[in-house]
């Protein structure tokens, strides 16, 4: 296990919003996340933690500074390459946007895998069922996504994030929209992923309890990292 190998590195990231007037939301944000780390980003609402996550996730490319994923600079790369990189190396768990309602649970988990095209469909279905089993969701596999409860959806979303064995999982307040019971379940899943599978994870949260359970906390205030 090479704990010291960096998975994600942010170097002096600045971000401005221009609407309605020029506001700096991120100021020289720099940190390194190593393989196997379970990191949470905390801070008050509006401190720029979500904005940071979108930049780290490569979806937002309008920033200054440099971002490295898997020791490779990805700043200024074309959109198509970034999309491929997201598909292959990053798994997402969002606060609201869980699943594609037009598809079954199983298909939702499959789609990023089919997009990557590394494994055959049969192989992927097998893998998807494995992931669902991990979260006790296998009996819901053929249901439509909108027939599930919020907590169940989020568990499927985590399974989907895992299907391509990503380098890192990013979460944007994954428990923010769930009740206590469900957020405990989701948290325990993250914990399990960290401990048993040594999955690298970066989770933005405002839930102090959640943050306490992680390996490392990055605390932000007014667009700056004040503690890490």
């Amino acid at each position: 296990m090479t704990i010291t190998k960096p998975v994600l590195e942010a170097r002096n990231i600045d971000k401005f919003f221009y609407n309605p007037s020029k506001i700096q939301v991120l100021r020289e944000v720099s940190f390194v996340i190593n393989r196997g780390e379970f990191v949470s980003v905390v801070g008050k609402s509006g401190c720029g933690k979500s904005t940071l996550l979108y930049i780290l996730s490569t979806m937002d490319t309008d920033y200054d500074g440099e971002l490295l994923i898997d020791e490779e600079s990805i700043s200024g790369k074309p959109q198509n390459q970034l999309a491929k990189l997201r598909n292959e190396k990053i798994g997402f768990v969002f606060q609201f946007h869980y699943l594609l309602n037009e598809f079954s649970v199983l298909e939702n988990v499959l789609i990023p895998g089919l997009k990557l095209g590394k494994y055959s469909r049969e192989e992927l279905e097998h893998r998807a069922m494995e992931k669902l089993k991990l979260f006790d969701m296998e009996e819901h596999a053929l249901k439509k996504a909108n027939q599930l409860s919020g907590g169940q959806k989020q568990r499927v979303a985590i399974a989907r994030a895992l299907i391509n064995d990503p380098l890192i999982i990013m979460g944007d307040e994954p428990t923010g929209n769930l009740d206590k019971k469900n957020s405990d379940i989701v948290f325990s899943i993250f914990k399990e992923l960290a401990q048993e599978f040594h999955q690298t994870m970066l989770i933005v949260t405002h839930d102090p309890e959640f943050a306490q359970g992680t390996d490392r906390i990055i605390e932000m205030e007014d667009g700056k990292v004040i503690r890490q």
């Binding site: 996730s57 979806m59 198509n80 999309a83 491929k84 969002f94 037009e102 789609i111 089919l114």
Partner: protein
């Protein structure tokens, strides 16, 4: 990137909005149905009307015209450079109406690859004798098989069969002639040629072209009957009618042979120019209406896809977040548009065909068109392929712009916006 996944996603999006998708497809179906039915009907009418004249008209007709000889003997003697000749009262020479050397002309025409068929004809000016009254008329000696094959002669024989002409001394009377001389099938009538020969002919059928002027004068008999009536040999022919493979090549063809044979050659374009113009304008109008329908249905698809994209912004954002790039998203929505276009179009073509069959059953009887019992419809596959191609093109264009909009959706805006 596998198309299978793109198509699977497109399919799921459509199934999630079955009603809207169906409405868009029905729009295409309706316009293609109308397009095919309209063009089929319009062109059926066109070819019926054109056929009235054009079917029966040879593409090129060779004949001899009685006219003064252009080479007058005096021209051979005196030098026109320094002299002037004045001849009064020149008369046509005693030339025959018959075509000289008709056999070799027919032979060389047959060797020309542009020629589809040749039918020769003998026309004779006659009087139909009814009691003490003589009606002027024209008996055309024809080869009934050739005439049927090339000029649809049998379509216009309303009673009897063209093949009955193969019996000697039989005649198919124009309907107008028959009505005037009160001749029934089986009656024997008497005709007198301009030269004074008399012949008794048995009526075996009626001919009705729909042009009263023509039917009041013309009758048909076999070539040998007319030759006998005129007292001429069996090489006596007055017209050689040629049908070409390519109707548009007629003027050039006529020019080629006019000088070689030294006889008159009339081409169909010169004789019937106005029909061409009429039909092309009618088709132009029907194409314009058909394409307008398709464009309107294209706007329908455009609207529905735009709405779908607005509703599916979340889905698009998630797809982009999990690694679909802009062109994948564009392909998904273009696939939806094309599926609507292809399915709607295919059903439209089938319904269009059925509509044509329906129109074909509607009774349409008119005195002028004895052979037509129902509305004419043209089933030319050309209209079906144009309809099919246009449905795909319009739906592609209608899908392209919404798809481009979808592909430029910024996932961050959507995810942050919640």
């Amino acid at each position: 990137m596998s198309w299978r996944l793109i198509i699977e996603i497109a399919q799921a999006l459509m199934l999630a909005r079955v009603k809207q998708t169906l409405i868009a497809a029905i729009g295409v179906t309706f316009s293609i149905t109308m397009f095919v039915a309209l063009l089929g009907f319009m062109n059926g009418l066109n070819s019926l009307l054109d056929g009235l004249i054009l079917n029966r008209t040879p593409h090129v007709r060779f004949y001899n015209q009685i006219k003064p000889n252009p080479n007058q003997p005096i021209d051979q003697i005196i030098d026109l450079e320094s002299n002037l000749n004045v001849i009064r009262s020149i008369k046509p020479s005693n030339s025959r109406l018959a075509i000289y050397n008709s056999e070799s002309i027919i032979k060389s025409l047959q060797e020309d690859s542009r020629v589809k068929g040749i039918s020769s004809k003998v026309s004779a000016q006659v009087f139909y004798n009814v009691g003490t009254i003589d009606l002027t008329g024209m008996v055309n000696g024809i080869d009934p098989e050739k005439e049927t094959e090339l000029f649809f002669f049998d379509d216009y024989v309303t009673t009897g069969s063209p093949l009955d002409l193969n019996q000697s001394n039989s005649i198919i009377l124009g309907k107008g002639v028959a009505d005037r001389i009160l001749a029934d099938i089986g009656d024997v009538i008497q005709v007198t040629t301009a030269q004074g020969n008399q012949l008794r002919l048995k009526v075996v059928g009626y001919y009705q072209s729909g042009l009263a002027e023509f039917d009041n004068v013309n009758s048909f008999a076999s070539i040998s009957t007319v030759q006998k009536m005129l007292g001429e040999s069996n090489s006596y022919l007055t017209d050689i009618q040629v049908k070409l493979w390519d109707f548009n090549g007629a003027p050039a063809f006529a020019n080629d042979y006019r000088d070689i044979f030294g006889i008159e050659a009339d081409d169909i374009q010169t004789v019937n120019a106005q029909f061409e113009t009429g039909s092309s304008i009618r088709s132009l109008i029907s194409y314009a209406v058909g394409i307008t329908l398709l464009v309107v249905s294209g706007f329908g698809i455009y609207n529905i896809l735009n709405m779908m994209i607005y509703e599916k912004l979340d889905t698009i954002a998630i797809l982009k977040a999990i690694g679909f790039n802009s062109s994948d998203v564009k392909r998904i929505f273009i696939s939806i548009a094309l599926t609507i276009g292809i399915l709607g179009g295919a059903v439209g073509l089938i319904l269009g065909y059925l509509t044509c069959l329906g129109i074909d059953q509607v009774p349409f009887e008119t005195e002028a068109l004895p052979t037509v019992k129902t509305f004419p419809v043209d089933y030319n596959p050309k209209y079906y392929s144009i309809g099919g191609i246009f449905s795909v093109i319009t739906t592609y264009l209608a899908g392209y712009f919404p798809a481009r909009k979808a592909s430029s959706v910024d996932p961050v805006d959507i995810i942050r916006g919640k």
